[in-house]
Amino acid sequence: MIKLLGVSKYYQNKFDKTYILRNINLEIKEGEFVSIMGPSGAGKSTLLYIIGMLDSASEGEYYFLDEQVHKMKEKRLTELHKSHIGFVFQQYHLIDELTVYENIETPLLYQKVSGSERKGKVAELLDRFNMVAKKDLFPNQLSGGQQQLAAIARAIISKPKLILADEPTGNLHSDQGKEIMQLLKKLNDEGTTIIQVTHSEENAKYGNRIIKLSDGWIEKE
């Protein structure tokens, strides 16, 4: 599903390049649950963002579903990522001005899904996540765990093939964290590919593959 060949990421300073990622070669198959681990500054998040097409590599080739992402125009990129990729962040990143319901609905709006279909899909997810009572609340009226639930609901509403999670439990209590991890596991069991960045060995255990990054290099698997 995902194939990275010799991908590097660096920032050009006046005299030298600061490398974030160096010569990454990586293949991830559909249905995998991958955890990216490593110390702070190792380039975990950058790798995740490149895979998620939010950032671009400085060098190397990136194939997503056999399409050449590194040569793609912005419009096609937007198309690709909005139909196949869902994001979950440590800071949830819900839109503060929108209610839970509207936040979950937003991706469908950008995909031009019809009104009645949207209603059905959002209602189904709210029901599944037990959030029906909270649907008209704004993000700042929810606990961290509930916000993350809403963020996951938003990430999966358009049934993406791939979910990218950047320390999804980093801001949560352990109980809430467990709940979120179980949810991700369940999604994986249903067939969604998941890549998460995490510091916690425990969380990594939910997955079936661990990639260790250090100083921009892949250390070992």
Partner: protein, 784 residues
């Protein structure tokens, strides 16, 4: 999708309501000012545009050293049927306007000037009749045509058609029969008569050669041309034709001016009838409107940019969940258009409220009606949408191009510091801000100078009455002697001219090629006007050839020679100088004091004004007494007077209006700029909360922090001021050239303006800066 955008936009408005309010108030004030001016510009441009022949009507004027719109009545008769290009001609005249009176039910009233015209006026100028026949209603010399409103005033509840109206023209009363009623003529028409009389009437009552002599420049002539007439050719032909026909001393220099240009492009053509504007004024106000709109837009863009930087997260999230660049641009545009439409609504309300004042200042009767001013409304909406597009577009382009990753990294894309774009825009705003403050100070100072200048005579206690036509010296002497019996009246004088513009301005040459202003006056002229003699004595009764010179005339003729009684001046026309009067301002301060002499000569024709000096503190009584005596002695004439200082106010009215307008715009620009500045500084403070907290924990004082926040604005402000000074110095020099007597552009005016601008800006900025600086650092750090 749209619904979601609107939802976000509204919630954002409410969440950031203070900034939204600043934005909306600033923008609606700016728009309102622009709309008021635009309305005026539209009004001015609309003159005579409704005339169905507007492209075929031309006014004839003389294109000599001094252009004049007064042509000869004989021109029309001379060229009749000689030029196939000319379909119709019409002559229009306006005479004795100070003395046009109407009498009804034993009361006498002054009316708007009577116009005299050929019957063709109805066809050419598209004047509609309610009743009567356009062909015949001006045929009879005994006819009069009035408007419906005029009829309602004098014959309330009755149909005035066929009724008799007594008019006073010159010295006599005439009974005229109403032969037609005019329908309402739109205000934006060059000629807007209340009362029309046949030109034939003049043939009856005026000197007979008015219509036969090429020396009388007495009427305005309009041509209605055939379609596709060649103007240049026709003008040449016309001049040649008249040249061959007229006496040798008459040198025709006719030119044709299209009717559509008469209203705005006639400021250098004298002898006008009708209502005029000035294209220079329209352009100036247009430029001011544009500047204000730009200031308001800059405010809007700056505020929405800093505000959007708080919404970077939202933009990032939207990109992550699948928003393309165009979707983000649409959203941004929609939001700013929403703001500008809200501002449009407020601006429209303001416009409605301001229109009466605008009418007063511009001296127009502008209306707002959706049907009649549709194009104006469309332009207003267009301006609002354009503002929204430009402002929203510039923010959208900056943000939508950013990568989502940068958006999450909390970098300040449009931070307080380094944006050249923002600084340039701020600088433009400041230049205008300082410029307007300088301009309004200079203009206000000049107006104060005008009203405070010592003119060399008394302006406050002297009322001037125009002498009735046909008055005799005998009658006047009775009037004057009866007046002098009252304690409220100090003295009375009769003269040909009273400054600044009463009566007749005549010149006379005593010595070769030396024209001098000539005032014919009786012996109480000096005492009534409080003029002072610097040498010699006043004039006496029955003293032919005795004159007074003013200082300017004396110096010009005798330079430093000391005055001795009975010096002589003049070659053919010898005069004896009995005294020298201190220089006084014969005209308004637009003109220099010219050489002048005063003579007690009994030339009745010229003697036109009666001036009455009232005792200070007894002015109402004085007026009352004068009125009673007047009504006894001149029962057929209207008692109408004006004080000299009122006349001055009237003369300076245009400049006073300009001063008011500039003050208003200065106020507006200051308000808008201050609100923008206030918004900017509060955003800077919010954005730099963390930095401020850190600096304070490291020991920075309140002053350090406040200065840190303000420094940028102070520097931009100073640079802008340096730019504004030379520009304004140049512009104000040009404006002051209007006046022969004016203030100097001293350094202190600029220094004071700078101080005012600096104080206003500093006050605005420091309030927020100090607030941010005094906040508890722990609070600001915990915020993260």
């Amino acid at each position: 999708m749209l619904k979601s955008y609107f939802k976000i936009a509204f919630r954002n408005l409410i969440k950031n309501r203070n900034y939204a309010l600043i934005n909306i108030i600033g923008l609606s004030l700016g728009m309102a000012a622009v709309f008021v001016i635009t309305r005026f510009v539209f009004e001015e441009l609309s003159y005579d545009q409704d005339n169905q022949f507007k492209n075929r009507i031309y006014r004839v004027y003389h294109d000599g050293k001094e252009k004049s719109g007064a042509t000869q009545a004989i021109l029309t008769t001379a060229i009749e049927d000689k030029f196939p290009e000319i379909e119709k001609t019409v002559r229009i005249g306006k005479y004795w306007q100070d003395y046009n009176l109407i009498r009804y039910e034993n009361r006498i009233e002054k009316v708007e000037p009577f116009y005299f015209a050929d019957p063709e006026i109805f066809d050419v100028l598209n004047i509609p009749l309610l009743q009567g026949n356009t062909e015949t209603c001006l045929d009879d010399p005994d006819a009069v045509v009035i408007t419906r409103q005029f009829g309602e005033k004098y014959f309330p509840g009755q149909n005035p058609f066929g009724k008799i109206l007594t008019i006073r023209y010159g010295n006599s009363f005439y009974d005229r029969k109403i032969t037609a009623i005019l329908d309402e003529i739109p205000k934006n028409t060059y000629l807007n008569p209340d009362v029309l009389l046949p030109l034939k009437f003049l043939e009856q009552v005026e000197q007979s050669d008015l219509f036969t002599n090429w020396g009388f420049n007495s009427v305005t002539t309009l041509f209605l041309l055939k379609k596709n007439a060649e103007i240049e050719q026709l003008t040449a032909k016309l001049n040649n034709f008249v040249s061959a026909l007229a006496p040798e001393w008459f040198k025709p220099d006719y030119r044709l001016q299209p009717l559509t240009r008469v209203h705005l492009y006639s400021s250098d053509i004298s002898c006008r009838i009708g209502e005029y504007g000035d294209i220079a004024q329209v352009r100036l106000y247009g430029a001011i409107a544009l500047i204000i709109l730009i200031i308001a837009c800059i405010n809007f863009i700056n505020l929405s940019l800093v505000q959007s930087s708080r919404r970077i997260k939202e933009i990032g999230v939207r990109k992550v969940v699948g928003a393309g660049r165009s979707a983000l641009v649409y959203q941004s545009l929609l939001e700013s258009i929403l703001l500008s439409v809200i501002s449009l609504a407020f601006a429209f309300l303001l416009l409605k409220l301001l229109l009466p004042f605008a009418n007063q200042i511009f001296n127009r009767q502008m209306q707002l009606s959706l049907t009649e001013n549709l194009s104006f409304f469309l332009v207003m909406i267009f301006i609002a949408l354009l503002v929204g597009l430009v402002c929203g577009g510039s923010t959208a382009l900056i943000f939508s191009s950013l990568k989502p990753v940068t958006l999450f990294s909390n970098k300040q894309i449009y931070s307080s510091g380094n944006s050249l774009f923002k600084r340039t825009m701020l600088a433009f705003q400041f230049v205008t801000f300082c410029g307007l403050i300088i301009a309004s100070l200079v203009i206000r100072n000049q107006m104060i100078y005008l009203s405070g200048k010592q003119l060399g005579y008394n302006t406050e206690q002297v009322m001037v009455i125009m002498r009735p036509p046909g008055d005799t010296n005998k009658k006047y002497n009775v009037f004057a002697s009866q007046l002098q019996n009252h304690s409220a009246i100090q003295s009375v004088t009769i003269s040909s001219f009273v400054p600044p513009v009463f009566g007749n301005w005549i010149t006379q040459s005593l010595e070769k090629d030396e024209n001098m202003e000539w005032v014919i006056a009786d012996t109480s002229y000096l005492s009534a006007l409080d003029m002072k003699l610097v040498a010699g004595r006043n004039l006496r009764e029955n003293e032919p050839g005795a004159i007074l010179l003013n200082e300017t005339a004396y110096k010009k003729r005798f330079s430093n020679q000391p005055f001795t009684p009975d010096m002589e001046i003049g070659t053919d026309n010898k005069k004896r100088i009995v005294g020298v009067v201190q220089d006084f301002h014969t005209h308004a301060l637009y003109q220099k004091i010219d050489p002048l002499f005063i003579e007690n000569a009994g030339i009745d024709d010229f003697i036109a004004c009666i001036s009455i000096k009232l005792s200070a503190g007894q002015i109402p009584e004085g007026i009352q007494q004068a009125k009673q005596i007047w009504q006894k002695i001149y029962p057929n004439d209207l008692f109408s007077f004006q004080f000299i200082d009122e006349k001055f106010d009237q003369i300076y009215q245009n400049d006073e209006q300009f001063a008011q307008l500039i003050s208003f715009f200065t106020f507006l620009a200051v308000v808008i700029a201050c609100m923008g500045l206030f918004g900017l500084i509060s955003f800077t403070a919010v954005q730099r909360t963390k930095e401020i907290g850190i600096r304070k924990t490291l020991g920075a004082t309140i002053q350090n922090i406040a200065l840190l926040l303000c420094r940028e604005y102070l520097i931009i402000g100073m640079i802008s001021f340096v730019f504004a000074v030379p520009i304004l110095y140049y512009l104000m020099e040009i404006w002051l050239q209007r006046f022969a007597y004016h203030i100097n552009l001293d350094w202190w005016i600029f220094a004071l303006s700078g101080l005012i601008a600096f104080s206003i800006a500093a006050l605005t900025v420091s309030f927020q800066a100090i607030k941010a600086a005094t906040a508890n650092p722990v609070e600001s750090l915990r915020y993260e």
